[in-house]
Amino acid sequence: MESSRRKFIKIAGISALGLGVKPVFNVFASSEEHGRKSEIKKSKDALTAEQWGMVIDTRKLTTAEDVEPIINACNKIHNIPDHQNKNHEIKWIWEEEYEHAFPGKENKYLNERIEHLPFLVLCNQCEDPPCCRACPTKATFQREDGIVMMDFHRCIGCRFCMAACPYGSRSFNFRDPRPFIKEKNNEFPTRMKGVVEKCNFCAERLAVGKKPACVEASNGAIAFGDLGDPGSEVRELLRENYTIRRKQGLGTGPSVYYIV
């Protein structure tokens, strides 16, 4: 009698445990099933490169009227706000004088054409980007194709990257940019107050097989391609023309070249 009661309690206990555990197993089984089937991949049209680069032919961009449509094309598709206050200005690609774009290269007596030429400047997508080293959250990072990207989800707005960038290519959103966007492009997100932004070499366009907006708007004055491919258009241009880069002595390895 003693031993059979003992047995009964044992069996009852194990059964209760089994019944209690079953729903938990069901949950795990179903979630794993869902996770396995789907996959994530690149688009077939996506453009790829070892190191994206740009060659800007300043001989073809001689007046402010030449560069304005290029700047506007970028501003429009990336929802860049137009703050009237200079302190709040957001810049991805903009126009700069020679002496400001190339400090250290300005001579006392300068070629007249060069002196007043509007140079288009943007993020140089450096090979060894100092901004990425400064970022404490890895919100800015270098992709495998050389593009220096911003992950706005991670940016905490510390602005170390702005201090680290020797080209002033980064802008901080001191205010909510949304009310200052003239024409909204609904296909591209805006930014929020408190994040740093900059040119992304149109990563969103490369992903669907299009060249950057500034290249498209430049009527051939800006060439874009793979610096790692000796047969590419940019490498061809670099072979045939004398080019300069911004502050290359700093060792950041800018990927934007200028034919002067």
């Binding site: 869902h34 789907s38 994530i40 690149k42 990207m149 609904n186």
Partner: protein
């Protein structure tokens, strides 16, 4: 127990105050909201995955999407039924679910979830301004 009455009255008042929020709000609980589907979403029959899966996992999916799109440059999601989708909140999700107030906000407000997606991502891509 000389102050029996006082203690009992005090206890009753204490219990009444303690349970006040419960009986005051009795029967007033907001009904669980049912998100409304647009005609386009209805016509599609199924989202990128099954309804149950989307209900419980959409936040994880979006979290994976944002990381893979921004950091790994992969932008195509192949669902378990083999269909391909562009991994974009504004351009894919909100293309069907273009009624954010009726679809997203209803449940988020009820659950007191306050995602900051819309600080940057355009919340109504079809809207013309």
């Amino acid at each position: 127990m000389n102050d029996k009455n006082k203690i009992v009255i005090g206890l009753i008042i204490f219990v009444v105050i303690l349970t006040f929020p419960f009986w005051y709000n009795m029967g007033k609980a907001a009904p669980v909201p049912e998100p409304k589907l647009t005609d386009k979403a209805k016509a599609a029959k199924e989202c990128i995955e099954s309804k149950e899966f989307m209900k419980s996992e959409h936040m994880q999916i979006l979290d994976v999407w944002r990381d893979t799109v921004v950091r790994d440059t992969d932008r195509i999601y192949v669902s378990s039924s083999g269909k391909e989708f562009d991994m974009s909140l504004s351009n894919t999700c909100l293309d069907c679910h273009s009624n954010k107030e009726e679809f997203c906000d209803k449940c988020h407000d009820y659950a007191s979830a306050d995602p900051y997606c819309w600080d940057c991502h355009v919340d109504n891509p079809k809207e013309k301004k």
